[in-house]
């Protein structure tokens, strides 16, 4: 099981946000460049298993980018945000993080969950 998981919820509909494209990136602290690690799409439960391996999830700064604009587009709706990026950082190894995204066309929230 990936030590990093997410869960995208369409809170306007009260349903998971399915088939949303997302990507995980890690910041190279020397070059300040973001390296893309994974691309994926949320499943029917709004989740995207297998984001990263235990070995790959070393302490550092990561970014989860959610293609929310494309998602609303695919539902025939406009939205305020073209995409959402959540940047987080950790120092201790062997951690697990659950990073949900609760979303409507004009709002979003995220938190460190479990």
């Amino acid at each position: 099981i990936s030590p990093l998981t997410t869960h995208v919820l369409n809170i306007a509909e009260g349903a998971p946000a399915t088939r949303m494209a997302l990507s995980l990136h890690r910041l190279d602290h020397n070059t300040k460049i973001w390296n893309m690690l994974t691309v994926g799409t949320t499943n029917t439960d709004g989740r995207c298993p297998g984001l990263i391996s235990r070995a790959g999830f070393t302490p550092g700064t990561y970014k989860l980018r959610f293609e929310t604009g494309q998602y609303w587009d695919s539902l025939g709706q406009t939205a305020f945000y073209p995409y959402v990026e959540v940047v987080f950082t950790f120092k201790e190894p062997d951690q697990r993080f659950h990073i949900p995204l609760l979303l409507s066309r004009f709002s979003y929230s995220t938190y460190r969950g479990s």
Binding site: T61, T78, Y81, P82, F88, S107, S109, R112
Partner: protein, 139 residues
């Protein structure tokens, strides 16, 4: 000086102090940072506003600022500069948490949004704790 004359002079000064403050036009874009862990405004949070150039997609810095005691930052942009496009508000949230002696999960928060009708007003609050944040289009 006679009392009467002093009263006259006092009248001059008071009417000058009655001048209403000439606040400039209100920015069509505003924000409000709230520390929801403590239930207080997020004051002294550094922030910056960018617009994305087309077609290069490069971000151009428009304003930098810092939230006041009420967590607000007036004067983000003028009506003239507020054209349609994609904008980004970046909040230096980790600096803020560190300044009150706490660690935080997010090194910063960036909110990217699309302005299709610059004639409207847009209010973009940021509600935050050390391990969460939310934003919405408000008024």
């Amino acid at each position: 000086m006679s009392t009467q004359r002093l009263q006259q002079l006092k009248g001059h000064f008071l009417s000058e102090h009655k001048v209403t403050s000439m606040a400039g036009p209100v920015s069509p874009l505003s924000t409000h940072v709230l520390n929801i862990a403590l239930g207080v405004p997020g004051s002294n949070v550094s922030l910056s506003l960018y617009r994305q150039d087309t077609p290069s997609e490069v971000w151009s810095l428009i304003t930098t600022g810092i939230t006041n005691a009420d967590g607000r930052c007036p004067g983000l942009i003028t009506k003239e500069m507020f054209t349609s496009g994609v904008y980004k508000l970046r909040f230096e949230t980790q600096q803020y948490w560190e300044s009150i002696g706490e660690a935080s999960f997010y090194p910063y928060v960036e909110i990217v949004f699309t302005i299709s009708d610059p004639g409207q007003k847009y209010h973009i609050p940021l509600l935050m704790s050390r391990f969460s944040y939310s934003t919405y289009r408000g008024s």
